[in-house]
């Protein structure tokens, strides 16, 4: 079962990807937990990753240590959402 507030985190991550990468609302609305991100979305290059992480931090009021950032957390929409939820929902 997903923790309370998970949907809020998920919608925040979805909105950040739309805003930072310039993706349409329809496109990000179709993202599922298994939708691949880093390496699959040409808009999500290493520079954009910095913007995505900072926006997630600001909007969820969390801090992401750069040592925690790796390929796994950015592999899919579900992985990124779960990473953010683990930070925000404690």
């Amino acid at each position: 079962m997903l923790p309370e507030g998970y949907e809020t985190v998920e919608s925040t991550v979805r909105a950040v990807l739309a805003d930072v990468l310039g993706l349409s609302a329809e496109r990000v609305a179709a993202f599922t937990p298994t939708t691949p991100l880093f390496g699959a979305l040409p808009e999500l290059d290493s520079m954009a990753v910095a913007g995505v992480l900072t926006e997630i931090e600001d909007r969820l009021g969390i801090l992401i240590d750069d040592d925690e950032v790796d390929g796994d957390m950015l592999e899919t929409f579900g992985a990124l959402t779960e990473f953010a939820a683990n930070k925000a929902l404690v």
Partner: protein, 237 residues
């Protein structure tokens, strides 16, 4: 009316500026964010100043040294250098007897220190520490290792971050920089609804400054132009 190209002189040389609106009355002095965000917000800012001109408001958008069409090397600059240039761009108008208002976007608010503005209007203002954190994250994304101190005390000076050559002096001056808020001078702060920091008004819009490809937002431009024009009219009353 189309913007006119003008210039201003500062201690480091001559830079261009764009003028919008009437040649009399209060004047808005706009400052774009630093570094990459300047490129991402320039179209938006020009649209905003054009919209203000339609509302009868005069403004200037100076090229800060190291930004826009400036030929000054960013590697030789610090925040105080850039702030002194912005002050020089403002002084000429103050000397002409015009009342001035600062319009700062994001880290552009960090450059507005020296001028006797009649008020300050800031959109999503950012501390230097926040800018430094963004720079460090970008530096890490380029494959470097280490914390912020390592970035600022590494083997190279200047440090290349996302194509910008930034001196250690620039990074150091950023660490202590905060948006200027002098006592007894009107200040109005607007932020996006997604920004948890306090503001006089929250706006539902996307952060254009995060976009890799420069974007624009005509709806936001109209909303902000109305807010600025209304606020300055109140200040002038």
């Amino acid at each position: 009316m189309a913007p006119r190209i003008d210039h201003y002189d500062w201690d480091g040389g001559r830079e261009a500026l764009l003028r919008f609106g009437p040649d009399t009355g209060p004047l808005i002095v706009a400052a774009l964010p630093l570094f990459e965000e300047a490129n991402r917000t320039r179209t938006f800012a020009v649209g905003l100043l054009r919209a203000l001109a339609v509302r009868g408001m005069a403004s200037v958008l100076p090229d800060i040294p190291g930004q826009g069409d400036s030929t000054a090397s960013l590697a030789g600059l610090t925040i105080p250098h850039m702030a002194s240039a912005l002050q020089a761009a403002t002084s000429r108008n103050l000397n002409d007897g015009r009342r001035t208002y600062a319009l700062g976007i994001r880290s552009g608010t960090l450059l507005d220190h020296g001028s006797s503005h009649s008020g300050r209007w800031q959109f999503a203002p950012q501390t230097g520490a926040s800018v430094l954190r963004d720079l460090h994250r970008t530096w890490r994304a380029a494959g470097h290792c280490g914390d912020c101190a390592a970035m600022m005390s590494g083997d190279t000076d200047p440090v290349e971050i996302a194509g910008n050559l930034l001196s250690i002096g620039m990074l150091s001056s950023l660490s202590a920089a905060i948006p200027f808020d002098p006592v007894d001078v009107p200040l109005r702060v607007l932020r996006l609804t997604t920004d948890p920091l306090p503001a006089d008004r929250k706006i539902d819009a996307s952060p254009l400054w995060r976009r890799a490809e420069p974007g624009n937002d005509p709806v936001l431009i109209k909303l902000l132009a109305d807010d600025i024009a209304g606020w300055i009219a109140t200040c002038e009353a």
